[in-house]
């Protein structure tokens, strides 16, 4: 099966530091790939490189066979590769509902002239977008909060909103940046079940996380980074036994079992 994502020798340097060093791996369609590593290992940088928040110094990224290095982020998102952010997750001042409508805006944008002139297509589209927003809010359990300002939501729900926004474009490959950070036990369970269902719907997921329960519980394979380099790649049991990985985490509070 052709991998949905192929990363080859991807590298990025900040100052004198190799933030990501020759990362090479593939992601199979439909799998959940976890990315772990101690703080500063380069996990978020890797996501940033793939989604082209900034350009790599060397290496290639192929999404569905097409090289996407240098593509503007909005184009990559429209191709079906969507990522979330650790911090700002939503349009804080707008309501939850408004956020869901805005989240779909980019994908269905017809272009400057058509949007300015045409009215009919807009109405059709509005109906579809309303349905989708409704579906997504229900899926993540946010439908009761639709009228609240996004920034007023409890933290856990804000992160779920971030996930809903990411799903608004029907992504095929979803990259989540520490979605479980700051969640309590109940919220974490909710999140995990949501990600599970997303994968069951055919979406491939790359999950950057610190929370081992989430990683071990969800991922088919795990990629481990340390100081920007890949030190291991394998199934959860393999990673848990891997000596390099254990060494890397020595001194960190996180336990990998």
């Amino acid at each position: 099966m052709t991998p949905i994502l192929q990363v080859e020798k991807l590298s990025k340097q900040f100052g004198g530091l190799m933030a990501v060093d020759q990362a090479t791996f593939s992601v199979q369609p439909g799998e959940i790939l976890g990315t772990i590593g101690p703080n500063g290992a380069g996990k978020t940088t890797l996501l940033n490189l793939i989604s082209n928040m900034y350009a790599p110094h060397s290496g290639t990224v192929r999404y569905k066979g097409e090289s996407i290095v240098g593509y503007p982020p909005y184009r990559i998102a429209k191709m079906g590769l969507v990522r979330t952010f650790q911090s700002t997750v939503s349009y804080g001042e707008a309501t939850v509902w408004e956020n869901m409508m805005r989240a779909q805006l980019g994908y269905h944008f017809l272009g400057l002239w058509p949007e300015f002139l045409i009215n009919r297509a807009v109405r059709e589209r509005k109906k579809n977008q309303t349905e989708k927003a409704e579906t997504l809010l229900r899926f993540l359990g946010l439908e009761k909060m639709r009228g609240q300002a996004a920034k007023a939501l409890p933290y856990g729900y804000q992160k779920l909103l971030g996930l809903a926004i990411a799903l608004a474009g029907d992504p095929q490959l979803l990259m989540l940046d520490e979605p479980a950070a700051g969640l309590n036990h109940e919220e974490r369970v909710h999140l995990m079940s949501a990600i599970q269902k997303i994968q069951e719907n055919g979406v491939t997921v790359i999950l950057v996380e610190h929370d081992m329960k989430v990683i071990m519980g969800l991922c088919h394979r795990i990629l481990v980074l340390n100081y920007g380099q890949m030190i291991a790649m394998g199934t959860p049991p393999e990673i848990q036994r891997n000596e390099e990985v254990i060494k890397a985490y020595l001194g960190e509070d996180t336990e990998i079992a």
């Binding site: 503007p72 998102a77 429209k78 349009y91 805005r102 805006l105 980019g106 400057l112 474009g169």
Partner: protein
């Protein structure tokens, strides 16, 4: 604009709900009759001045809507003004061509320059537009040929409109000029209102509020910023042409940094949400100097004070105040829900 507190640009007008375009149409028709009701030259002059400022302030609002605060708006007005004066006087272009050409010139330069400038964020963008505005002004001041240098261009002819071959009339009277400016203003408002109501306007809001979220959910933020900047340049150019042929004289002094600041003040004081804000701001601030004729020095003191006090006490501007008043009125009527 700020990271905390209510976003002044979210504050949209509630006086005339979006759906009631008919109310706006009625208002526009009413405006056509103003010269009939008030033929007084002095008042017409003030109103024309207000209309010109509305075109400028609303088009600046569009640029600000994408999160870019530009202090170069007056420079684009200048570009339009000089283009119009020169093409009419040197090339003999009919005014009906010179006018749109002025707008296009503003838009083209905005596109050229925006490509580079719009990459800058926040305060740095403001500073670079300041520098750009000064560069443009220095061009006008120092190139005596063709811009006339510090004295500018005088004896700019009034517009000669030839709609059909053989019929040509010159807009000599204030009343006729009133209709010209009214027409351009209504067109500008109509276009910008339409943009704001469409997905383009929404995308602009997204770009302003949380740019990276917009970008990573498929919105081409750079395109929207360019569009707004070019649109701003276009309407500023139009206003410049109208300005030049009305006052029959332009100089670099008409298009300085302070003129740009004035437009920002109009936006801040009037409120920046929607187009109602800058309209309110123009109506309130433009006539002020006229009616405070006797106290010239105190005028500008008041001006500075108004700016500071507005940011201090009513960051959402006059529009915000008006909306609050309307909300309070609505909540007094039992059973009536406000429009979302």
């Amino acid at each position: 604009m700020g990271t905390t507190g209510p976003d002044p640009m979210q504050e949209e007008g509630k006086v005339i709900p979006k759906s009631k375009s008919y109310a706006l149409l009625a208002l526009s028709v009413f405006l056509f009759f103003i010269p009939v009701l008030w033929a007084d030259e002095f008042y017409l002059n003030v109103i024309i001045s207000i209309y010109l400022n509305i075109i400028l302030a609303v088009s600046l609002n569009m640029v600000i809507k994408t999160g870019k605060l530009s202090i170069a708006h007056a420079a684009f007005m200048g570009i339009g003004g000089y283009t119009s004066a020169l093409t009419v006087m040197r090339l003999g272009l009919p005014y009906l061509l010179a006018l749109p050409l002025s707008g296009l010139m503003g838009a083209c330069i905005a596109l050229l320059v925006g490509r580079l400038l719009l990459k800058l964020q926040g305060v740095y963008f403001v500073l670079v537009t300041f520098a750009f505005g000064e560069v443009v002004r220095l061009f006008f001041v120092n190139l005596v040929e063709p811009f006339g240098g510090p004295t500018g261009i005088i004896n700019i002819p009034p517009p000669r409109i030839a709609l059909f071959p053989g019929t040509a009339f010159t807009l000599l009277s204030k009343v006729s000029y009133y209709y010209l400016v009214l027409g351009v203003m209504l067109m500008a408002l109509f276009i910008i209102r339409r943009i704001y109501q469409s997905s383009i306007g929404k995308a602009m809001d997204c770009t302003r509020e949380t740019e990276h979220l917009a970008e990573f959910t498929g919105i081409d933020t750079f395109q929207h910023k360019m569009f707004a900047f070019a649109g701003g340049g276009f309407f500023a150019g139009l206003a410049g042409s109208l300005f030049a042929h009305y006052y029959r004289f332009i100089s670099p002094e008409s298009f300085t940094f302070w003129e740009s600041v004035n437009l920002i003040v109009i936006n801040v004081v009037g409120g920046m949400g929607g187009i109602a804000g800058p309209i309110l701001g123009s109506i309130f601030l433009v006539p002020l100097p006229e009616f405070l004729r006797g106290f010239v020095e105190y005028q500008r003191v008041l001006y500075g004070l108004i700016l500071i006090l507005t940011l201090w006490f009513m960051p959402t501007g006059m529009l915000g105040l008006l909306n609050k008043a309307l909300d309070r009125m609505k909540s007094r009527k039992p059973g009536k829900e406000g429009t979302p």
